[in-house]
Amino acid sequence: MADPRHVLVVGGSAAGLSTAEALRRFGFDGALTVLEAEPGPPYDRPPLSKQVLDGSWAPERAALFPAGRLARIGFRHLTGVRAVALDRRRRVVRTDVAGDITYDELVIATGAAPRRLAGDRLPGVHVLRTMTDALRLRDDLLGGGRLLVVGAGFVGLEVAASARRLGVPVTVVDPDPCALAGRLGSAVAGRLLALHAGHGVDLRLGAGVRRITRSGGRPDGLDLTDGTHLEGAAVLVAIGCRPVVDWVAGNGLDAGDGVGCDPRCQAAPGIWAVGDVARWHHDGFGRSMRIEHRQHATEQAQAVARNILGAGLAFTPTPYFWTDHFDVRVQVAGFVPAGATLRPVEGDIVQGRFVARAEHGGRVTGVVAWNSAKAFTAHRRLVPAFAGAARRPTSGNEEQS
């Protein structure tokens, strides 16, 4: 394929900007535009639930790239501009304030937005996705009063830890009595929850939220499905995200749960997806996946950039994430399902730091580490990697163009 003349990236957070940077790195010298709905300089999301929320970092420190790195990419950066519609036939993206923008190759990098609860749109009820969300939540935490967290996932629990660091009382609610077991395995999930309990987090697992109660235009508690009422001054709804695909609707793209892509991360001729919004076929696992991890955004960005430039490679990563709680960092490569058998490689799974491999169905499916980052790097290759770079896709969209 000849180099495209104009690549338009819609979404200017980690995945989108990394795609732009990788395109230049791999030799693309055509026109390059990145569109971002949020105004202001790009920032990174992992610090939002941690250092930005607990105040150990000023917001500026969460800048996505160090000063100068963005400028060196060489691209048109349109911030505060939202894509509202896609016209595939004319190869045009319609925007809210910058008119229509044509493209030769389109990269969909619009990420995901928090799922909401019915009746949660009032001051004092929060979600956490953007810098604005984080600063607003921080303001409420500094006001004192109990924080009620809906959802014992990584975001909910990282926020709970930050709130405790600020001295704020916290209750976390989740209908799943085995919260996080499907992500960390039962033993590590249980240890992480015990860590929270030991720091004074009130965990209420096994009951869902029936409704947010309110008085004077603010939340004042939660009614749970088991009849319990919890009192609090602020609520964080942390029940996961849904990919932002509304603007590509009606174009014949598969956008049921993110933008469906082939193994090369191509959704259709001239259209690619990257990051949280992309659901692509992982040839190694033999199924479609959508991954919201930070590391994934940069890895997939490089794969998409290479494939836009004609590499034709299947993207077959081993997923990786980290999560921080109090003085503990947990890292996972691969997958650690609830029923996995954990075998220590270093240390003790019950106490102290450790690295363990997870076995499930007779295979090593993942490696999990607890405060053992250096050892984790040495052992993460225990997870069998897929020979992605050598692999040709099992199916593709290129032939249709």
Binding site: Q295, A297, Q302, Y320, W322, Q331, S372, K374, F376
Partner: protein
């Protein structure tokens, strides 16, 4: 090429070590350790890969230095 790392913001993913073990290491807590501020010519591309792979963007490369 001159490399800088911002150790205070490192989240110890080890991505840099996987990409460029001749340029980066980790201390006992997993925080990045820069082994060579100006790597050999045959390690420069690996260093660039490490910069792009870092999920906390703590690696800066000055290409003109």
């Amino acid at each position: 090429m001159k490399i800088r790392t911002e150790r205070d913001s490192c989240i110890s993913s080890g991505a840099c070590v996987l990409e460029a073990p001749q340029v980066f290491d980790q201390d006992d807590d997993g925080v990045v350790v820069l082994l060579r501020e100006s790597p050999a010519a045959d390690a420069e591309d690996a260093a660039r890969n490490a910069m792009m792979a870092c999920p906390a963007a703590v690696i800066t490369i000055d290409e003109d230095a």
